[in-house]
């Protein structure tokens, strides 16, 4: 399965709201990274990723997110993820990346 993103820019909040669908694995992680970076080059700001339809992400996908986060942070922004499936949230916790990204809806981090 491939992935797709549906971005909408919120000029007031200076933030891209991005719905991510599909799977981001070693085959597609570079493309995923490039797609998010392209958004930040178009309009600088934060990224809010809606992961309701994100079926799977692997370590290379997480690495892509980290790379994008470095860029976003250098411009004063952040990356948040919402509606992560439990099995994907587990991957963030195993790698401690739940402490690096803002994960919305994760009660254990409150």
């Amino acid at each position: 399965m491939d992935f797709s993103i549906k971005p909408v820019y919120d000029g007031e909040k200076k933030r891209w709201n991005v719905a991510v669908t599909g799977e981001v694995d070693i085959f597609k992680s570079s493309e995923f990274k490039d797609a998010l970076i392209a958004l930040t080059e178009q309009n600088a700001g934060s990224l809010a990723l809606n992961c309701t339809e994100l079926q799977y992400i692997d370590s290379t996908g997480l690495g892509a997110l980290v790379a994008v986060l470095k860029r976003v942070k250098s411009a004063g922004g952040s990356i948040s993820l919402s509606h992560l499936r439990p099995n994907l949230l587990k991957l963030f916790k195993i790698t401690n990346l739940d402490k690096v990204f803002v994960i919305e809806g994760d009660e254990t981090n409150e």
Binding site: E23, D25, I26, F27, Y56, D58, S59, N87, K90, I94
Partner: protein, 135 residues
């Protein structure tokens, strides 16, 4: 793994090109087998993710030659699933720090990596908590 757990009840072998495009096929096979063993939803997702990470680990270190092959063997030991991934051929250091092994250690009950000049072998074991697979 056979030495420790005896002969498996069933073995399933999958050969894939060392190509990221086919990692999803490995995930699908792992999912099918884990489901067949009546693993619960969380366990199935763990197995899928572990196999995917193991593939990524090996692909990052396998030197491309003519038709490089990644072999994945799934061995069913009652209520435990053993998975061994093997690449035989020239290997290299990945050059980058990756999270694959960290993730694998958090997803399965046992994991071991054996690297030689001629091969990379990554073995994992996932135990099912609950009703045994008794076919």
């Amino acid at each position: 793994m056979n030495e420790k757990y005896g002969e498996p009840k069933e073995s399933i072998e999958l050969s894939l090109p060392v190509n990221p495009a086919y990692v999803s096929a490995a995930r699908l096979t792992a999912s099918t087998i884990a489901n067949r063993m009546m693993f619960d939803v969380d366990e199935i997702e763990d197995v899928k993710a572990a196999v995917s990470e193991a593939c990524a680990y090996i692909i990052a270190r396998a030197v491309a030659t003519v038709h490089p092959v990644l072999t994945i063997v799934f061995r069913i030991y009652g209520d435990m699933l053993g998975i061994t991934l093997t690449f035989e051929g020239e290997r290299c250091d990945s050059g980058v720090e990756d999270m694959s092994l960290i993730m694998i250690s958090g997803l399965v009950d046992e994991a071991d990596v054996d690297t030689t000049e001629e091969a990379i072998r990554l073995s994992m074991l996932k135990k099912h908590v609950g009703v045994s697979f008794g076919v």
